[in-house]
Amino acid sequence: MKDMRTPLSRVRGLGSAKTGTRDFWIQRLTAAANVPLALFLITSLVALTGADYATVRSYLGNPLVAIPMLLLVLSGTWHMRIGMQVILEDYIHKEGPKVVMLALNNFFSAVVAIAGVYAILKIGIQS
């Protein structure tokens, strides 16, 4: 064992690693990003109301649409993953089910994120 310090001295020496508020901070950061991105989504949905397939394709194929849409998918899924984790941690008290639900939350968010990115990139590359 290299570390000869006592546990107390180790705690005193370490102090805060300054990473304890990582999720809190990313939740705010993605929230700030989501404000303009959500407005962009609402505008897009209104603009595309009743539009035919070709119009939707050419709209989503435009880099000025595809890039914010990618940002929305990534920032949105990251934000929702953290938000759902907080809810699960608040309301599920049993350790086993909590770990399972937290894992499912991560899997769900990852699948949704990757599926969205895949679709946007596919449209972008084909157009």
Binding site: R28, A31, L45, G50, Y53, K122
Partner: protein, 135 residues
């Protein structure tokens, strides 16, 4: 659970149902509910993108669903949830910088979140109908 905890359960704070319902409390709950709705609503956005990417046939399936009465209603609810959660988020930004903790301001912001979200949703829907001439 330790033996002592089993013999003598620790006192718990009273749960949600015991408190008088206040505007700020309700908006806090609704913020979580809309967040959860948007969590699953993300599937709708993903379906739309995948359908558009996969071709005309899959897009027609999405279109027929979103064009149905149920689809339109869910899209309307999604729009409201998104706007409500967005406004609720702005409220949290105010609190994050240490503003708006006094009761009159907090109540005003809570009321503005609810009323604002309904007005903006109606506005978005109206513009949608007006611009595109379609429901």
């Amino acid at each position: 659970m330790s033996l002592e905890a089993q013999l003598r359960p620790r006192p718990l704070s009273p749960h949600l149902t015991i408190y008088r319902r206040t505007m700020t409390m309700m908006m806090s709950i609704v913020h979580r509910l809309t967040g959860t709705a948007l969590y699953f609503g993300m599937l709708l956005l993903t379906w739309w993108l995948i359908a558009a990417a996969e071709g005309q046939k899959s897009y027609r399936l999405f279109e027929s669903w979103i064009g149905s009465a149920a689809g339109k209603f869910i899209l309307l609810c999604y729009t409201w949830a998104l706007i409500h959660h967005l406004l609720g988020g702005l409220r949290h930004f105010a609190w994050d910088i240490g503003q708006g903790f006094d009761l009159p301001t907090a109540n005003l912001m809570a009321r503005a979140t609810l009323i604002g979200s309904v007005i903006l949703t109606v506005l978005v829907r109206t513009i949608g109908i007006w611009v595109r001439g379609a429901l």
